[in-house]
Subunit: 342 residues, 2 copies
């Protein structure tokens, strides 16, 4: 398997990205290669500063880069040789089997949609993020690829995220919850009510009904389906709150137990490590005809390394093949073709 990594994407690129690519060597099997895409001289500098073997790494030079906050579609048009665009084209042309980037998320989504296209029968790709919680990990899908969701899109997020959780989490029968503002079927908005009707008739899904914001921490579902705007708000809220509440608790404890400061800080670090997004190594864009893993912009080398692990598991479990089977099950070809344009 050949895994492309955007060497120029992320707050700590290229140094941490290259470090992650070097460290990922231990995850590779015979014949696997990592292709770092970006400015060759910068990558080469990082590689020569690294202390491990680099015989698993190739470089593909590009001379354009995107900033984190550039408007995605325009930027891809104006900078056709940026690392994200080049990597998506390499994937399309079969030069690599997966893309990993900690760069501009919108550009990753746009590049994958434009270059890789969608899996047969999939209406819209969605990003699935594994959210670590004290009650266990929950895959939230979508977290921002699609802010104009229709019921059919959300329904497919339930299918696709279930397959992903089976692949990555080893959960045989993932429990799927639909994020709403009350457990009762009548609550929520029209999008939720119509999505619920679709989810509950699918025999292949273990749909547990509507769930609420608090259920992300109650351990009653493995997959939480939601519209991309809501999912993105949820994701960023959790990130902001974990840091804020954690710091407040530490401050309060240091006030009461100043003599135990080292132990308190150690316990806090251990705990925060359990909820570190770097452990989960990026989120796949589910539904595209390829493997596109999007990492947190602040990813450390461990985040990049774990994204390589996710890409390998994604391929080994044949996530895309299973998604195509489930999404098209019981559908005649004409219906699939129609729905592809929905």
């Amino acid at each position: 398997m050949r895994i492309g990594i955007d060497a120029m994407g992320g707050d700590q690129a290229p140094a941490e990205v290259v470090k992650g690519a070097v460290a990922a060597r231990e995850l590779l099997t015979s014949g696997d290669k990592i292709v770092l895409v970006g400015i060759e001289s910068a990558i080469a500098d990082c590689l020569s500063a690294s202390d491990g073997p680099t015989d698993h790494i190739e470089i593909r030079h590009t001379d354009q880069m995107l900033d984190m906050d550039e408007p995605p579609v325009e930027s891809l048009r104006n900078k056709p040789r940026c690392s994200i665009a080049v990597m998506a084209e390499m994937h399309r042309d079969g030069e690599i089997d997966a893309c990993i980037s900690a760069g501009n998320t919108g550009a990753c989504v746009a590049a994958a949609q434009m270059r890789l296209r969608r899996l047969r029968g999939v209406h819209r790709p969605g990003i699935a993020v594994i959210t670590p919680t004290p009650a266990g990990p929950v895959a939230v899908c979508d977290v921002g690829a699609n802010v104009n969701c229709r019921p059919a899109h959300l329904y497919q997020y339930g299918i696709m995220a279930s397959v992903y959780v089976q692949a990555i989490g080893g959960i045989k029968e993932p429990r799927v919850g639909l994020l709403s503002i009350g457990e009762e079927a009548a609550k929520g908005n029209a999008l939720v009510r119509e999505t619920r009707a679709l989810l509950q008739t699918d025999k292949n899904l273990h749909f547990v009904g509507n769930v609420e914001g608090r259920d992300l921490f109650s351990g009653n579902c493995d997959v939480m389906v939601c519209e991309g705007f809501v999912g993105n708000v949820v994701l960023k809220l959790i990130e902001g709150m974990a840091i804020s509440v954690g710091e407040a608790i530490i401050r309060e404890l240091l006030g009461v137990l100043p003599e135990n400061a080292p132990s308190i800080q150690r316990a806090a670090r251990q705990l925060m490590g359990k909820y570190d997004y770097n452990e989960y190594g990026g989120a796949p864009l589910l539904g595209v005809a390829g493997i596109s893993i999007i990492c947190h912009g602040a990813s450390s080398y461990r985040g990049i390394m774990n994204a390589v692990r996710v890409a390998k598991e994604f391929a080994n479990f044949q996530v895309n093949q299973k998604i195509v089977e489930l999404v098209n099950e019981g559908q005649e070809m004409p219906a699939t073709d129609r729905s592809n344009n929905a």
Copy 2:
């Protein structure tokens, strides 16, 4: 001022509600009364068990109650003598000047909309919840009254919640943020982009632009405007997460410092107290022609007592008069009449 309280609403009703009504005596000024609405015998039992003076309390008997999860509109139709409906009618008829309930939120919203109607020029009422965070309180509006928001509704939430925060928080020039999935103007969905255009042209508002989920904890806004579905998800997520993360940190610390268990638990209790919704005493339904304060279903007597404080401040600051002025500023009457039907 005469303040109606739904004695039958809430997980701990009527006992905690009546206890809160008795304790609220210290917040009242000369001539103020509290009218407990509900089953007279149950209220009387709680009053005779109470240990403070009750000369500020009157009872209005009703013989119907709503469950927390009954569908609001149907229930109000089927149980026209339930405490929530009776209280709204008393408010409409001038028998009381405010309604407080820890019961079925949807029924409180529906009863207020049907019996009290909207303030002149207001399109849709919205619930504003003060969310305590380590960086300071933030008023989130709407948190579930309106799941079919248009830009004009969200814009008015910004105006109304600003007035409310001035009244309750004493903040002279509240900073208003629009919840989105990126700070850039182009990000978000169509609803957010159109709302932003309205918010940024209003000279009376201190609009700070789009904010993200994490900004609830960054202290950069006093008011966060969002659509009711998103706001409700946010609210419940925070509640679930505060408990979950707090418990996880305590567990971790008890493992490291078992000998300090009492201090750790004391510090945790102190901290959780700072973020206790009971301190904020319920959330007003902004935009109705009256005062409707909706409390958390699990409110303790302190939650009820603080709701009485909120109702008093709401009236003293003349929140509704100020909302009407700002919402209709620069508008001719015909435009206002039109917008009232939007």
